[in-house]
Subunit: 107 residues, 2 copies
Amino acid sequence: MGITKSQIFNERQNDLAQFFKVLGHPARVAILQHISKQNSCICNDLVEEIGLAQATISQHLKELKSVGLLKGEIEGKSMCYCINIERWTEVQSELNTFFNNTKSNCC
Amino acid sequence: MGITKSQIFNERQNDLAQFFKVLGHPARVAILQHISKQNSCICNDLVEEIGLAQATISQHLKELKSVGLLKGEIEGKSMCYCINIERWTEVQSELNTFFNNTKSNCC
DNA sequence: ATTATATATTGCAATATTACGATAATAAAA
DNA sequence: TTTTATTATCGTAATATTGCAATATATAAT
């Protein structure tokens, strides 16, 4: 196996899990934190700052982009990766709804 | 490789990522949602409700327990798994701090 | 045009995760 | 005490993720 049985869950459960999953790696947390401290951010900054190979950082950036949390614009010969604030707020709100709807009723 | 280089990140980054990661599977999202609808919850309920094998559910419960989001009490010959509300609120607050501290300054 | 710089993609090795059947462990019921 | 019911653990197969070197791609600078 090794494959998640997504079919047996509803869309909201799969979506929520996907957001959590993308944020579930320290490199991606670190990338978001670093970007939020800078006014502009290119991949090479991250490679030095974080200490993973360029290919690895690029891969993590791709995943963050895939769920819309980052957007990237070409800026001359480098890239400007930025947090997509609308998406960011949206996701935060989704996650809070999940947290608020999950309550303890026993023990 | 395949192994996350945790050493190069700080404790907070690793902790945050770990919480996100544990929540990053639809089965675990579904388990938390189901528990929050019930007054008591045992593993067998979940097996029927979710549709994964008993061994698999048990494994997911273990992971949720490992980060303190669930606590389990023996109740006769079955278990009562409950959300650890203090921990739950704590984690929600941590995640919100992360979201609020991560801002866009460019693009 | 050639070179230098920055990022993306490919291919691969190592490890992790998901899932399940089989089995163990534990406690209530008969 | 044997059976039944419930959950945990072990072993294993399949797939996913992480990470990197090598290479491709694209743009700026020379």
